[in-house]
Amino acid sequence: MTAAGGDGQGDRWGDLLAAAQRGDPDAYRGFLDAILPFVRAIARRRCWSDDMAEDVIQDALLTIHRVRHTYQPGRPVEPWLAAIVARRSIDATRKRGRIGRQEVFNDAAYETFADPRANEPTGADASRTLARMTKGLPRGQKEAIELVKIKEMTLAEASLASGQSIASLKVNIHRAMKKLRLNRVKDPPE
């Protein structure tokens, strides 16, 4: 399949999306499955890693879902799709640039001890400690931590549940973890 898609293919995508606008779930699934290679091709061209491209693809799919009412049936789908994916790629690149300039990600910092068992929370104290620690977090950060770290949802699931984009979730989790670590230093658990 080519990244641009043929005319007949574009027409078929347009028909599927128009049916999706009327609420047809099968047409919508067919549309999302059909456009995925097109979306992936644009995302990969604009991102410097496969991980980042997958984030952009998921963000683009969520955006497509939110703005599907802006597609005008009968018009070409490809420019509409390409603009959404390109925009989300630019947003992701800018966000990564900002985070990279201002914050350092230290994976090992989440580990308090080398022995994994030492990091396990202890019974009933855990929920109380957690509630106290997350009390002062902004709503978005608290929600991100609860959905991804506590309920162990995937980023895509958490994004759908919270309405936050995947990139926002990542930023919120990162910032929340940073605050939680600082809080632990200032106010160590009893």
């Binding site: 609420g23 699934r29 879902h65 703005v67 802006t70 420019p79 995937t154 895509a156």
Partner: protein, 218 residues
């Protein structure tokens, strides 16, 4: 093998599908917004404006007045139409430049009018005090027109809200400046022109900031 997060997301999105009404063509939506603005502005001019004073002020310079007001109106109309087009993904980015030519013409003609007035007054300029009325008028009119436009543009959840917000603000500021012409009690001076531009910059800045948030997708 378990499905990838992207496949899971597609499953969830397909399960979450609800009927939506496609937006009308951006040109039609822009026309409807412009009609609403024209109605509000027309009523204000008919009830409170002074067309006779406008004619007296530009006596002997009717062509300049007509051109200047046409350029002002074209700036506002094209900026608003462009905002509606740019709020839809995939529409030409060239719409950003649409209001620029009439805006430049408007500035040149205003400058010419100012110079003409400056010569007539033998180099005596008006004080800033009189122009403050214009500043407040443009800000107040923009505050009335902007919410209407923001509400209509937000329907599209623009994926790139900043240019949409800036064009919306330019359109609102130009429309306000157009309406102001019917309430002006004195000819435009250089100070007045500077104050008009300052008012527009304030409107563009404030609406740009507010709009960017208001127009951003959820």
């Amino acid at each position: 093998m378990s499905p990838s997060p992207t496949d899971t997301l597609i499953d969830q999105l397909a399960a979450d599908i609800r009927p939506v009404r496609p937006l009308r063509a951006p040109a039609l939506r822009a026309l409807m917004a412009l009609a609403a603005i024209a109605l509000v502005a027309g009523l204000a001019i008919a009830l409170l404006g002074d067309v006779g004073e406008l004619r007296r002020r530009y006596a002997g310079r009717e062509a300049l007045l007509a051109l200047e007001m046409a350029a002002m109106l074209a700036t506002g109309v094209l900026a608003i139409v462009a905002a509606f087009f740019l709020s839809i993904p995939g529409r030409s980015r060239r719409w950003i430049a649409a209001p620029v030519p009439p805006f430049v013409v408007w500035l040149l003609l205003s400058g010419l009018g100012c110079y003409d007035d400056f010569v007539r007054r033998n180099g005596v300029e008006l004080q800033l005090g009189e122009s403050m009325h214009c500043l407040l008028f443009i800000l107040a009119t923009s505050a009335v027109l902007a919410p209407l436009l923001i509400w209509r543009l937000a329907r599209a959840n623009p994926i790139d809200p900043l240019p949409v917000a800036l064009l919306c603000a330019l359109g609102v500021a130009a429309a306000s400046a157009f309406v102001l012409q019917f309430f002006h009690s004195f000819a435009v001076t250089f100070i007045d022109l500077a104050v008009h531009l300052m008012a527009m910059l304030i409107v563009v800045g404030v609406i740009g900031l507010i709009n960017r948030r208001a127009l951003a997708p959820a």
